[in-house]
């Protein structure tokens, strides 16, 4: 199903928010303000956004180490996220989790995850819960091309398939797992082809074309809500930055980087919006600068927030 005008404008806002958030994170990391590892989603905005535009607050997602985009697309609050990146008490996890562990269970966000592939079986469990309760909620599992080689992928897709669970597996093929090219890590061109091993539909789309992503996800979500089981969607995209901030990406070919930068999903969407007369370029530019201001506010919130109390080390280990 094609996105409506409202949907497409929302998609634009979400992609722009991710772009602004991540661009700010580049700066903040370089300025030494963000502790730990930071893995950015720049260039991949269309994937999370196109998929999550099909979800409601009652649906679940599992995310990865490269999670900011997924979280924003699922409704995560950028001030709480930013405060978490800063390790502040007001952050999503009270400063205990950091970039790789941001979660908002009330929004159905079952967490970024520092373990490659770990979200896959978790998504199966969340989808099981929805089916068990006879709701029509679905779960989306985001993971990378690298994660597609982990055993968790196989066990999770198999289990989801035999139990016909409402889960959509979204392989974000950004061509690399750290320094390892997808081409040398697997002997199939399309990760989507692996769906056949589980008797489920598999579809590969241009992950920089948000409408293509939206449409594929829309099909898969409908199928899942209908009770027809999982789908594997592969979105081909490109990680603009190093694996983490600080990685000079020596393993990438400059010409590849260059050609992918030209496929930036945001101008592409803007052209479409203008073309469809859903908005004028000045309107879009205005939205973008509003979003940038929101991100600045989030940074301000984070910077002004208090650090966690030392005693907090010991709390939140057990419930009750």
């Amino acid at each position: 199903m094609e996105p409506t005008k409202d949907q497409l404008l929302d998609i634009f806002k979400t992609m722009s928010t991710i772009r602004a958030f991540e661009s700010k994170a580049v700066e903040l990391f370089a300025a030494g303000k963000l502790p730990g590892f930071v893995h950015l989603y720049l260039g991949e905005e269309a994937v999370a956004t196109g998929v999550c535009a099909n979800l409601t607050i009652k649906d679940y997602i599992t995310s990865t180490h490269r999670g900011h985009g997924h979280l924003i697309a699922k409704g995560g609050k950028i001030d709480l996220m930013m405060a978490e990146l800063f390790g502040k008490k007001t952050g999503y996890c009270k400063g205990k989790g950091g970039s790789m562990h941001i979660a908002d269970v009330d929004l159905g966000i079952l967490g970024a995850n520092g373990i490659v592939g770990a979200g896959q079986p978790i998504s199966v469990g969340a989808a099981f819960a929805c089916k068990y309760r006879k709701t029509d909620s679905v779960t989306v599992c985001f993971f990378g091309d690298g994660a597609s080689n982990r055993g968790t992928f196989h066990e999770s897709l198999n289990m989801a398939s035999v139990w016909k669970l409402p889960v959509i597996f979204v392989a974000e093929n950004n061509m690399y797992g750290i320094s390892n090219s997808q081409k040398t890590s697997m002997n199939v061109a399309d990760i989507a082809d692996r769906a056949a091993a589980y008797g489920i539909p598999g579809v590969a789309v241009d992950g920089n074309d948000v409408i293509a992503v939206f449409e594929a996800a829309s099909e898969a979500v409908k199928r899942a809500r209908r009770g027809d089981g999982p789908t594997l969607i592969e979105c081909k995209t490109w990680r603009w930055r190093g694996h983490f901030e600080g990685d000079p990406s020596v393993y990438k070919k400059p010409e590849d980087q260059e050609s992918w930068l030209k496929k930036d999903p945001i101008p592409r969407l803007e052209a479409k919006l203008v073309d469809l007369k859903y908005a004028t370029q000045p309107e879009l530019d205005k939205i973008k600068s509003e979003i940038k201001a929101q991100v600045e506010d989030a940074v301000k919130f984070a910077e002004e927030s208090a650090l966690p109390d030392i005693e907090d080390v010991l709390t939140d280990v057990y419930a009750n």
Binding site: I115, F128, R133
Partner: protein, 323 residues
């Protein structure tokens, strides 16, 4: 009270909670029609149906990982891992997901899940089907670790584990499954974190759990005939550990022997010894002894296996070294 086996009691604990709360369901390899590799779940499929008693493919990673997802989404899964020996297959899910999610999320998740699994040697099942690996789980903050040694505790701790809002590793002992005991009927809860003095005594404290509890009790009987009065304390859960109960007992007896079936090095006995050697140092009037399996894999041949497993005789010998 009713006489039941340990297996029946644990099953009854699951049944009580499944009747009480529809969010509780049970799944694992061959837990359905087959009734579980050791029959612990027999009849539950018939009673609760295929929606709540579910066979899985052979995928421990997906079993444990999906329990995490289901619990985070509000269900209360009981997942069976057929042998504790297979926990290596899903350790990441236990170590990095189940145990840490709540803390990493700043306290904003609840993971009410139980992983049931049997441990122990005694059936010539050899090195990959006979281990006793509780120490690993006790080294992972965020988990509770429960090891019942009697039928009644099996039931009461199972009900408590299911109601607990944290991931609980519930370790059953294969050799105990057929052991009978008096078990309260209907709802029955044993608090997790409270030790039980299974035999009072004044001369030495023996701490033992799971199958070793019965060996310690038998050793205590023999020792009584030789004039040594042994107190036998069953911690029942290792995390949380009822440290006070152990220290109180040592205060009375001045001597401590710890018995476990796991291999010696880095077994949970070391933890208990370390606690007492610190906080109870002044209470001790003799070295702390551990009776454990040796630091080897578990041999197959029955003659070797029975030499391997800690025995009543070895417990008696260790106790006597203190007098």
């Amino acid at each position: 009270m009713a006489e039941m086996t340990y297996a029946e009691a644990i099953r009854d604990g699951m049944r009580q909670e499944m009747k009480r709360d529809r969010n509780v369901y049970l799944y694992g390899e061959d837990v359905g029609i087959f009734g579980g590799c050791f029959g612990v779940t027999a009849g539950l499929f018939q009673e609760f149906g295929p929606e709540r008693v579910i066979d899985t493919p052979i995928t421990e990673t997906a079993i444990a990982g999906s329990a995490v997802g289901a619990a985070a989404a509000g269900l209360r899964p009981i997942a069976e891992i057929m042998f504790v020996d297979f926990m290596g297959v899903c350790m990441d899910e236990i170590l990095n997901q189940a145990a840490k999610m709540r803390y990493m999320f700043g306290g904003k998740a609840k993971l009410p899940m139980v992983i049931r699994t049997p441990c122990g040697a005694g059936f010539s099942a050899a090195a990959q089907h006979s281990q006793t690996l509780e120490a690993w789980f006790t080294h992972i903050p965020g988990l509770k670790v429960v090891m019942p040694g009697t039928a009644a505790d099996g039931k009461g701790l199972m009900e408590a584990a299911i109601r607990d809002d944290n991931p609980v590793i519930f370790i059953e002992h294969k050799v105990l499954l057929g052991a009978k005991g008096e078990v309260p009927e209907g709802e029955y809860l044993v608090p997790i974190g409270k030790a039980d003095i299974k035999r009072e005594g004044t001369d030495v404290t023996i701490v033992a759990w799971s199958l070793m509890l019965s060996k310690a009790l038998a050793a205590a009987e023999s020792l009584a005939q030789e004039g040594i009065s042994a107190e036998v304390l069953d911690p029942r859960s290792l995390v949380p550990l009822d440290k006070e109960a152990i220290l109180n007992s040592v205060k009375k007896t001045g001597k401590l022997v710890i018995v476990h079936e796991a291999v010696r090095t880095s077994g949970f006995g070391g933890e208990i010894a370390a606690i007492v050697a610190d906080e109870g140092f002044d209470l001790l009037d003799a070295p702390i002894k551990r009776v454990t399996a040796p630091d080897t894999p578990i041999p197959f041949s029955p003659v070797l296996e029975s030499a391997y497993i800690p025995s009543e005789e070895k417990i008696i010998k260790a106790v006597k070294e203190l007098f």
